[in-house]
Subunit: 214 residues, 2 copies
């Protein structure tokens, strides 16, 4: 499937087939493909909680506006955005550092520069660490959706849930923001999709505020 | 190109060919493909400022850690995340409402529910509107990168820039967050890419904090 087909075939599905499991192999492959997503300073500030057990999906459904698809989709991913993913001592920061030393991209004496640069990028105001984490987790979640489509899976990204309730239930640490839930599965047999929703045209997306541009 | 190839071939390119223009046709196609990106409530809270003029790219370079690629890439996109994209009266909110009436997805008497739902999702705490905007703009930016790769273009997403300086220079209103700059162009001839950087493995991405899961 080329990208045009993928971008057309990716639809937010409301009705999943509760009888058709997502194999561990398919889920792993989907995450592997998305793992190549680029990120600021290669910090990859994303994680996933995989919710598969029926009972857990029922609990999650109750925390997500009682949307049936949360219990009907065989897998729901809680996407996590790590607001501390730029700090000294964070495992990924340290792994990045080691990799840069190993490949000759950095020299040991550049450590202060490296840590200072990450801090200046993601801690320059109170909101910057949230924006850093959520933007990159957004990249990753979009990749998950395209990867799923390319593997014949269907998805539905969801915002409508009780963030604090989900955090408490799954004991998710405070340094994570919960940008979305992502239902993953197969379309209910016989389901007819509505036409794709409208989207902004290119001339509605491209803007100038200063009178410049072509 | 299938998605596996696209995800492998998409690399953050540091050296663009300043002699090879990106045609308006290619840029439009890239944005059209990305315009299909899903968003919370279909609110599409993203816009782009297209920076093409040499002089403007030099100005932007000076605001972006003097990174040569900002002036060498023939196009740099300033990606904008609209923090007010859920409010009553916003053109996209109103267009969504009209489309939902037209397709029978909502009835006129549901307007208060519709506006209240958007507000409860994106205004439930001080940070929620930033997270809403940046997450969706992250989806869109990731789509732009894959669309570019599928069209034979190269990209580089950048965080290292003076947000307030860029805002002032391009007169970007305060309700936008500036999650990234995206350089777009073609690879410098003869450029040899370094091996792809390391990524977290699936078992480093998937986490549980409550002892649950498989």
């Amino acid at each position: 499937m080329n990208f045009q087909d993928i971008s057309e075939q990716r639809r937010a599905i409301n009705f999943f087939d509760p009888e058709q499991e997502v194999s561990q192999e398919s889920l792993t492959r989907m995450i592997e493909l998305a793992a190549r997503t680029p990120s600021s300073f290669n910090l990859q500030p994303w994680n996933l909680v995989v919710v598969r057990e029926q009972e857990e999906r029922e609990t999650l459904k109750a925390l997500a506006w009682n949307q049936d698809k949360v219990a009907e989709a065989p897998v729901v991913l809680i996407v996590l955005a790590d607001r501390k993913g730029w700090q000294e001592g964070h495992p990924v920061v340290e792994q990045n550092w080691q990799q840069m030393l190993a490949t000759g991209g950095m020299q040991p004496e550049q450590r202060d520069w490296f840590l200072g640069a990450a801090k200046s990028l993601y801690n320059w105001n109170e909101q910057a660490d949230l924006a850093f984490a959520v933007k990159n987790a957004g990249f990753f979640a979009m990749s998950l959706m395209y990867a799923a489509t390319s593997l014949g899976l269907e998805t539905h990204p969801m915002d409508g849930f009780d963030h604090e309730g989900v955090r408490r239930t799954f004991q998710i640490p405070d340094h994570y923001w919960l940008p979305l839930l992502l239902a993953v599965g197969y379309r209910k047999p016989g389901l007819e999709l509505q036409p794709a929703k409208w989207r902004k045209r290119v001339d509605e997306i491209v803007v100038r505020f200063d009178g410049g541009g072509a």
